[in-house]
Symmetry: C2
Subunit: 591 residues, 2 copies
């Protein structure tokens, strides 16, 4: 098969509305389906058709893939089983692959033993194992084709993100921002597993695959050399995080992949300042546009220089074509962890929109649209308030106003639909020492619902429709808990999302009116996917509470401060759900 | 509350057709419901209403209780969590009680870390913990009222059976027949936890609470003293098993409880012979009728003297009123592990019927209706064939033609409906030495489907309707796997059962015609229960594969001989289901 083979197979699949070939539905990350057998008028008749218990507890993220071969391919949290389930026989197990992994990986996973899903291309399935082993399987029989080692868990490195297959390369990112790891994104040959390129999130330009003369930042060349070193004190960049643990999207015409990087290592900003002054800590919390074949950075945009709040910038970069001041622009929209909704030009990296979707957001008043830099509010600056000082009432929480839960873009309404978090925090940084393979955090947090006088509604989450061009919330549904599941919108004018209590819900795309819900066995942090098989449309979701939000349940923690404050703010989750992974497939009754 | 209080509360509850107050539905163990909102004509419309993942893997036996307080009470396998779930809020957790148990109990549980369910009476919930702790909780808030120690897991004793509350006493039995334990049934005061009486399954008459002058056997006084000692070689009775790990039923008029005892310790019959001759090993595999208040044995019937096949006699003793030779008799019907369907007179213990329901049954040709003793076929006698000899083709398997899965009796049809096993075995006994707390088995087994030329159908199980008076199978449904779930019949003319692949199925009570099925998340070894809440009838079941049948999956065993042959014969289960406990509640759609 030629180089472009794997890429072509994904392109062909994403053109077929019956399939769900990638975790985000297509290369652009839209999580939108053109299927409309299930629509606004009949969705209330949806019933479960069959279910499959994965046999694994803890957080089930990601969702099933359907590539048109009569099967669903699903994955589980550690030890990352892969199942091929027979759609013709209520999910009979055609084959199962269970990697043999060292359980000492578990303690170095920051936010539960999650995995955001498989990738498929050209008859092969790809998985990032928690222990940094990237594997390719023959989708037909589950045979291992190749496996390669992407990192070292004894140094605090793990993997949770879903690979993306582009141009016969498998793009993968590591995790470890809470363990002082250096983030890197890597391309392996889809057929052989040979490493083709690796781009770091900090260090010399040669590590970052960045050319200050040609790589653009806010439309201009970066200009200065080795900012990945010079914007850090001493050798702190060697513990600089920026782990790309989130979603990767791809524009085949521009041949650019887009992804964001995580927090810059220690949560104590003072240890990342230079001579007592804020330093950008490039390229943490940065959107990278890289050439898919060489890895070269075409453009970069650092959303949060000198992070003081753990606002990892890994959320999905939705590729959407927009009209901007009368011109058609290739847009890139982000419902970002910072509480801001961004819109950039994905060709040049130019910042077009940066508006708050969570009104309580107060760490920054606004973004300077010239410099692209946030205007930090000193009252909520954990650096300016100082080490060992508890800065209170910062919104959003470190978990962000939206975490890894992927949003959905409907080309019909032009809106982005996302499950978001309405949570704020108190944050007290403290001096912390780096020990290889140990947590390297240095902050104590306490979290609480966004205050009602600042725009919160008393609960911990919402599901919203967002206009990415106007930068405005169009409608919003209040939820008891953060909506930590991946949204789906369809041509049937329905938006689907899951709740941490375990409900899958359907709402009217235009009005947000509630249409249908079903209580699945456990909280949903997976993504609602859809596909059509033998002329019948199905909705499918993995339930199984966990992730950072459910870390109290997942790891059996009860002290409110544990899980960096997540256990306390989500304590009530214990009354609504327990662990346990189940795939549920829904459809309209035959009559 | 007076002594009879707890008993009266159960009697009142079992008269209310809306409730499901005991694991077997009523004291008689009929697992029949007078509810008929769901019936033969509309059952195909049944849909899941809500679900609850228990957060525990391994075998989920037993089922939910409904006592009319707007809640479902469920339990889990080890560590035996108890949940009070709110029917008004899709199973919100009102309270959870999780005992703190030593995980070293797990290796001494023969057949997976199962538990057959809670008991409820007079506002209190009762549970037998795996580690032999019997507890009483306040059903309102889950507070522990009392706990008492019923045995010692370091000596191989555990508990899996469901308690029964009778006359303000909680009747409980131990497990440990595969560890050379002495079986005993015990009554504790329902309010205080004080032990009121304990009856052993062997030993001197004083231990067995048996009076040879008055206790009847086949209608006559036992006559000889201390048969619990004299029918054993030397002190082998001290390792004599007879664990009452199955179901207990109760006749309030006669004030008699009925239960059966397990296998007589080592599976090597030569070690239980006297001077090379078979010895009865009384009172293993015996039906006991005991006075509920004193424990005194009213009558006994040993179904299998000198067991050579591990045919534990603990199956539910269904109390049914029958017409026998023109007279009304208080009957006691058993779909027994031996492959025989028994009918006894529950007042006198007289044997009325002993007919094969599994035609391939060949260990005994018939029962002598005068003596009540089986006529053993030498070809399938593992004793006569000899130690270290592999006796082949014995039917049924040691798992029995029916194991613990409770049957259901419909007073309307007069038939008993049961999930059964169609499995045979090769059995090779060998000399084994007793070491306290270690397995004391001494046999290697290989199991296979009942051969088709002997009446098998190629699969491993069936669901049958049995005429307990005529001693005949009325209809039978073939199943791929043993039907290891508890049956339910209702006034709506429907019989429900669950399969090891995970299907809940509904069939026509009279014809066995298939009406409806739904694939729950995991194999079903729990019991299908029903209740009516706020005028709506619900069907509820715990799925979660395991038990002896699913021990390969439950304990991660892959060698066919492991699990005493169960892993081999059930290897294909791996293609259909994985572990994971989920409660599913079904009802008819509102429209
Ligand atoms: O910086 C990192 O390496 C890293 C990794 C991960 C991860 O791999 O799951 C998360 C985070 N950070 C993080 O900040 C975060 O909020 C988070 C939530 C989750 C989740 O799956 O619920 N993972 C992660
Ligand atoms: O003799 C005993 O003590 C004993 C205990 C148990 C149990 O407690 O589950 C089983 C058995 N025997 C047994 O023989 C058997 O077939 C069996 C099946 C199961 C089950 O839950 O699937 N338990 C047991």
């Amino acid at each position: 098969t030629t180089g472009a083979q794997a890429n072509q197979s994904v392109l062909d699949m994403q053109d077929n509305p019956e399939l769900w070939p990638t975790q985000l539905g297509n290369y652009a990350g839209n999580r939108y389906s053109r299927l409309d057998q299930i629509n606004r008028d009949n969705v209330q008749d949806l019933v479960p058709t069959w279910q499959f218990s994965t046999g694994v507890l803890r957080g089930h993220e990601g969702g099933p893939l359907y590539v048109g071969d009569g099967r669903l391919y699903i994955h589980t949290p550690f030890p990352n089983r892969i199942y091929a389930l027979d759609l013709e026989d209520d999910g009979r197990v055609i084959w199962m692959y269970e990697p043999d992994q060292d359980s000492r990986v578990i303690p170095v996973m920051c936010c539960d033993t999650v995995n955001r899903g498989l990738a498929y291309a050209d008859g092969r399935l790809y998985l990032n194992q928690a222990d940094n082993t990237v594997i390719a399987l023959n989708a037909e029989d589950g045979e291992l084709l190749w496996s390669v080692d992407n990192g070292d868990h004894t140094e605090g490195e793990t993997m949770t993100m879903s690979p993306l297959v582009v141009n016969n390369k498998v793009i993968v990112g590591n995790s470890g921002g809470e363990f002082g790891v250096r983030g890197h994104i890597t391309a392996y040959n889809a057929e052989t597993g040979e490493m083709e390129w690796r781009g770091y999130s900090q260090g010399p330009d040669s590590d970052v695959l960045l050319d200050p003369e040609t790589t653009l930042m806010m439309g201009e060349p970066v200009g200065e050399a080795d900012l990945g070193v010079t914007t850090w004190p001493d050798d702190e960049w060697e513990r600089g995080g920026g782990a790309p643990w989130g979603w990767v999207t791809y524009d085949p015409e521009l041949n650019l992949i887009y992804y964001g990087t995580g927090n810059p290592g220690t949560w104590n900003p003072a240890q990342r300042a230079i001579d007592g002054e804020p330093a950008d800590n490039k390229w943490a919390i940065t959107v990278f546009a890289r050439d898919a074949d060489t890895g070269e950075a075409k453009w970069v945009y650092q959303k949060v220089p000198f992070d003081e709040w753990d606002y990892d910038g890994v959320n999905e970069n939705q590729l959407i074509d927009v009209e901007w001041n009368g011109e058609d622009r290739k847009g890139l929209a982000i419902i970002d962890r910072t509480g801001f909704g961004f819109l950039l030009d994905r060709e040049t990296g130019e910042l077009l929109v940066a508006e708050k979707f969570a009104p309580e957001t107060n760490w920054a008043t606004h973004y300077d649209m010239e410099t692209g830099r946030p205007q930090v509010d000193p009252e909520y600056s954990t650096f300016q308030q100082g080490v060992d000082v508890n800065t209170t009432g910062i919104c959003p929480t470190a978990m962000g106003a939206k975490n890894m839960q992927p949003s959905s873009y409907s080309p019909e309404t032009g809106l982005i639909y996302a499950g978001i978090n309405r949570i704020c925090m108190d944050y007290e940084p403290y001096e912390t020492e780096y020990v290889t393979g140990q947590p390297y955090v240095g902050a104590t947090l306490n979290m609480m619902p966004s205050p009602e006088d600042a725009g919160g509604h008393g609960g911990l989450g919402s599901f919203m429709a967002w206009d990415p061009v106007a930068g405005e919330v169009v409608w919003e549904i209040d939820e008891r808990f953060a909506v930590w599941s991946g949204a789906l919108t369809t041509a049937g004018n329905v938006a689907f999302y899951g709740t941490l209590e375990g409900y899958i819900k359907a709402v009217d795309l235009e009005t947000g009116d509630h249409l249908w819900q079903f209580k699945t066995p456990s909280g949903i942090i997976g993504n609602i996917n859809t596909f059509q098989h033998e002329g019948k449309q199905y909705i499918a979701v993995l339930s199984g509470v966990g992730g950072w939000a459910g870390i109290g349940l997942a790891a059996g923690l009860t002290d409110p401060e544990e899980g960096l404050g997540a256990v306390g703010v989500f304590a009530a989750l214990d009354d609504y759900t327990k662990l346990g992974g189940v795939l549920t497939v829904f459809s309209l009754p035959d009559r």
